[in-house]
Symmetry: C2
């Protein structure tokens, strides 16, 4: 099926100026970027990251792009092109590939990403999609996890928790918001929330060699976390604290930058949830006493 | 296993100047290239492209890199960095990943490629490896399949056929030879032989809208093709004509460039096998008559 499906893809792929030669040669030829290049790869597999008997294959395709777009956003970068490998179950391979690609094209169009290349195989196994995403940042301007200093504001880009109710299949990667933040302020460190707010925050802080004091009641809790708590036996806060796949960003910046950005309409709900500290670990201040919090989330 | 294995990988990955930030952040940060960028992706899967009960996992890892390096060489490009996804069977996942990565590191070291990023999953399925390779070419200088003109020489970079006897697991991608050819002459079109000499030649010619007249007895036949013919019921020539996974290059250039490069020691056996013609299709001249040949090989 590969040759005929690739011919179909060539027809479907929009031509974008960043890719000179796309699908159909031994490799893609991509225009050079200004600044530095960003590259990441993430795969999702039926039975592990989604369930093909529950989720539409279009959503699955969209998600395979979105999780990578979220990583690019977490670097403060602009996405440009993607390469996609599909490992397809032998039965109905062409139909499955077609449906998955509808979601991939939808994400590509929405985020102005060119599909520069790909590979298809059929095999005795579940649907698996691996997407490599390329992008660019101004030289020296990537938002690393390691860049947070002491006494900086910690912000989250939207309410978290309960994404398993459905949002996790249609993530809203914060690509546009990242571009706006870059214009407005100097982000010192960033990470996207894929494994849980507290776990990913802990990773960022550990890389930056700082800790934090959180204002627990400022953490924005998603309606899905409240809804889920009605049946899960856990509190809305517990869902917000540890649920994965929110794909919001955690960003740090100076307090004055935070004040500035919180007073600006950036088209998304930005919330300050705490401040970095020289003392490592996650802490909250309650009744005048510091209490250490335990990061929780999805550990691979 | 992912976090601890990624920590191991970070320790093992050599630091190379082309990658500023490698494994361990949301994405890699890669230095900009001079000219244009090349990107390709190819996956190999247990039971389809290799057999884990017959082939060493180190060879499998090496092959996953080598097939992509061959694509980069076929563009006349210099490889720089790679991103790797592994889908691992749940049982023995860490051991399997470690052994595969030994082969990946071997290829990376040999070809001076940085491992810039990756992803690991465990699942109910066979070992699958997807490698994205990035590289660069001088602006406008990529060797496309479509660049061959009429009356040009067609060369192959080494003997072909019978790779299934073992060579197919340890391909020798023609990265270095491609760089030498770029220095010496103007290659007008190129493709690597992954699906068979005649099939891949036919693809190149079709893209270039030309045909060819082959001197059949000049086609360099590998010893493996001769050996295989003793038991396969096919002739050595049939193996050379249609066997896949040789990973030699087919290149076209002006006859004067071909004469020049054939008179030069380029560290590999270059052989002219024919000439491009305005009449499309593959042809041989026998007893003063043109006879049309049928391309054969591995069709996905």
């Amino acid at each position: 099926m590969e040759q005929s499906f690739l011919a179909y893809l060539r027809g479907r792929c929009r031509s974008l100026p960043q890719v000179s030669v796309g699908i159909g040669d031994d490799a893609a030829v991509i225009e050079p970027v200004v600044g530095q290049q960003i590259a990441c790869v993430d795969q999702i597999i039926d039975g592990v990251d989604f369930l093909s008997d529950q989720h539409s294959l279009g959503d699955v395709g969209f998600k395979s792009m979105a999780i990578n777009l979220s990583d690019v956003a977490a670097m403060g970068a602009v996405p440009t092109s993607a390469l996609v490998t599909l490992a397809l179950p032998k039965s109905n391979a062409t139909r499955i590939a077609g449906e998955v690609y509808e979601g991939i094209f939808e994400a590509a169009t929405q985020f102005k990403v060119a599909i520069a290349g790909g590979d298809l195989s059929t095999y005795d196994g579940p649907l698996a999609i691996s997407v490599t995403l390329l992008g660019h940042v101004p030289a020296g301007g990537a938002w690393l996890r390691s860049g947070a200093g002491e006494g900086e504001a910690i912000l989250v880009t939207g309410p978290v928790g309960g994404s398993i109710r459905g949002r996790h299949m249609r993530p809203n990667p914060r690509v546009e918001l990242a571009a706006k933040l870059r214009e407005l302020v100097q982000v010192t460190a960033a990470i996207d929330i894929s494994d849980g707010l507290s776990l990913d925050l802990d990773r960022l802080l550990a890389k930056s060699d700082v800790g934090c004091e959180l204002k627990i009641d400022t953490i924005p809790i998603h309606d899905d976390a409240i809804e889920l708590s009605k049946t899960s036996g856990r509190t809305p806060f517990q869902h917000a604290w540890s649920d994965g796949e929110d794909f919001e960003l955690i960003v740090t910046m100076s307090q004055s930058d935070a004040d500035k950005v919180l007073a600006t309409d950036v088209g998304a709900t930005l919330t300050q949830i705490g401040t970095t500290t020289s003392r490592t670990g996650l802490w909250k201040l309650e009744n005048g006493r510091h209490e250490r919090l335990s990061p929780q989330g999805y550990v691979h």
